[in-house]
Symmetry: C2
Amino acid sequence: MELYEKYPLSISNSLSGKKEKFEPLNPPFVGMYSCGPTVYNEVHLGNLRTFTVFDVVFRYLTHVGYNVRYARNITDAGHLTNDAGEGVDRIEERARLEQLEPMEIVQKYTFSFHEVCRIFNILPPTIEPTATGHIVEQIEMVKKIIENGYAYEVNGSIYFDVNKFTEKYKYGELSGRNIEELMEGTRALDRQDEKRNPIDFAIWKAVSPNHIQRWPSPWGEGIPGWHLECSVMGTKYLGKQFDIHGGGMDLKFPHHECEIAQSVGAYGITPVRYWMHSNMLTVNGEKMSKSKGNSFLPRELFNGTHPLLTKAYSPMAVRFFMLQSHYSSTLDFSNEALSAAEKGYRKLMNALDTLNEFKYPGKGKLNENLNTELNKLVAACYQTMSDDFNTAKTLAVLFEMTSRINDFKSGNHSLDSIEETTYNAFKSTFIGFIQEVMGLQEDNVQDSDLLDGIIQMLIGIRKKAREDKNFALSDKIRDDLKAMGVQLKDGKDGTIDYEIE
Amino acid sequence: MELYEKYPLSISNSLSGKKEKFEPLNPPFVGMYSCGPTVYNEVHLGNLRTFTVFDVVFRYLTHVGYNVRYARNITDAGHLTNDAGEGVDRIEERARLEQLEPMEIVQKYTFSFHEVCRIFNILPPTIEPTATGHIVEQIEMVKKIIENGYAYEVNGSIYFDVNKFTEKYKYGELSGRNIEELMEGTRALDRQDEKRNPIDFAIWKAVSPNHIQRWPSPWGEGIPGWHLECSVMGTKYLGKQFDIHGGGMDLKFPHHECEIAQSVGAYGITPVRYWMHSNMLTVNGEKMSKSKGNSFLPRELFNGTHPLLTKAYSPMAVRFFMLQSHYSSTLDFSNEALSAAEKGYRKLMNALDTLNEFKYPGKGKLNENLNTELNKLVAACYQTMSDDFNTAKTLAVLFEMTSRINDFKSGNHSLDSIEETTYNAFKSTFIGFIQEVMGLQEDNVQDSDLLDGIIQMLIGIRKKAREDKNFALSDKIRDDLKAMGVQLKDGKDGTIDYEIE
């Protein structure tokens, strides 16, 4: 029996607005897609939360026995709205600003994104498709939508015909908007506007020859519309219908709504069974935004350079902090919350070290209450995570387990008072949830500084020992260090230096 | 005056077979392309040498003031020869073997390749284009070659017509082969063979519907020929003619020869001004090959698991080892050579640490010979590297500089006996060449183990001190560690544990 059968999973489906039992189309296989970054600048902390949320979803699905194909895209073309909400090409704009070829911008920020993922222990997805890598497929999908009558051409651009679509299908279901409201909320069309209707959206956009990124198509040179790539790549790698689609809440409308319309317009079938949306990150209670100066880059956290930070925080403390709230809640970022997270993270990791050193001593007198409690804690880890990936509650269970670990350590309880099967399940669950599911690991960033500090301290102790004629100690320090590959060297003016072999 | 003007660069051009003065088309801009991996398995040590060689070329060109656009591709489709030399699709074959979607194979091995690059400090190129990312452009180039009369269609595949090409242009110039020899060296055509001539090569290949990777084209569904992507991406990002193209010697024929033919066939202009080829890696004097069991993966080096290794070697020792020979020479890999490289690397890094601690004390009595010698060494670094990137000779100069650094350290010479400008040039050149040009950095891989060892040792010293009633020492150890964030904790059975905050 697989773990996913023992602890059935439920997911809050944004499409239905309800928590539903998760039933993949073709178990044990699960197809999952989440929206990745547009690689035109550094990802900020809000993006990072989204990537962390779906990293944990991917990790947990895998942990309970599903075979997950997880596609997370890189948008490297066609993102036609800049941060100010204007209709310009993000990558093209940035390329002109930095005086680089668009693909140099793409390479620079893809590399930086991957570095951030590595530092925060966000696993690589199983496929990481790019928009530029699927131009042919995007053109094919546009053709299909035109064939089906849900798109029209104007001056080499192709627009999705929302009114036509709503004659047969629903539009706005995911975001809970109806078409009349949407029409009212949209400004009237300019005379220049090519669209039949303000809520229509481009699926292929003609560009002028001085636009650097552009591709030939049956409608002339252009670029794919931003919403199109996700529909295309989801279909290509996960099928016309697949299990889970995730993304930040801000993508629900229009991006995800348009994805649904495109897929239905092309294939007549709703593409995704479970839509998941992660909530926003606020800073000291306010929405994060560049203009307010409260927008953080991940790097600013662990070097502590942002004016709103009182100190630096390690990547793992930040990861822990993010997991402390459920993905569907807003998460407020403050120095107090981060400092608390740092302590919590350290506490868990120390318990992990302690547990790793335990060995089951053989069975003694059984403490039945304790034995039962530990088994319940093991089950609770799975129950809380299987309840819509509630990392907040799961961490609370892991802290309960930490208290029990410390009881064993201090001698309050003895390991031989529990069953060996209990011991093994408890140990592997605690370790598995921290490392595999939560993705927490040792922060090693400052090891080399600390190492230098401690070696310098030993050099000082040795100097004092020699002054005190305690040669046994001074020799021991020199010899032990040497055995570990650290060679002490006498400098000319009595200073002592060291080399690590 | 830029450094590249002060120390003009020469390159052994594989196309002319001569060492030539390097004159970029449009200085200070340099366009450089090198062939990256086919991401269907782990890169081996031979590949790593090639990537390291062109990393150093990229680094040095940048260091001397050129503005380099460096494209290194990822082959993620269309590589139609497996390791046994048979005409099968490498990625497709691997996908069937591992039971994954081809793009999962691509993701897995691209990630692994990037990890290896990070560990060996190989910089990311400025653009890292993929074959699947340029299907449209490849189809366009095929059309162009057909239009010009140098390719023909058979059953949905397009072949380059070498005979037709040689009516107007040369074929075989780079590899020094003539067309008659090539014809003789090729087996006769099968009856089934679609090609007009055995030396013709596919630039677009029709595939059956059960081939997973395939794209629509004017000639039906198919995949691009392997040689085509490099021509297409070189042209797209660097222009119809660009400065430098690098790759392993094994790619000279047919891959690079075909690249030239394709570009000339499409645009009538030879694509590359300076072709550079890095030589092979041998193991104990023999060619590396999987069947001989002497093929190494980078990872096997630093965990020491390969049966031919007597110990583990750090990534930086391996990098140093590779730089010890000129890129155009074969490089023989043995335990002896690696152990020697390890010592050499350590010696350089120690000199770097020493130099970093020096401060210029103000001018004293000038030692004119020494002052002149140091300035010559600075120039020699540039002269040796500008002479066809001779890392071997440059390292020899850096070792000369190391001796001078140690002279200053031991007091053989005094820093105040050289001019301040000399001091500054010497220091910045030594540091710049080691870190920026050679890309050598501290190996930190075992810091955490060493750290644990040393803390345990301190705990032992403290225990002994307490037994000896040397409370001054035992308290000092506890307090100093605490100040550095290491908290000692008493365990129940007299053991002492620690936590790093």
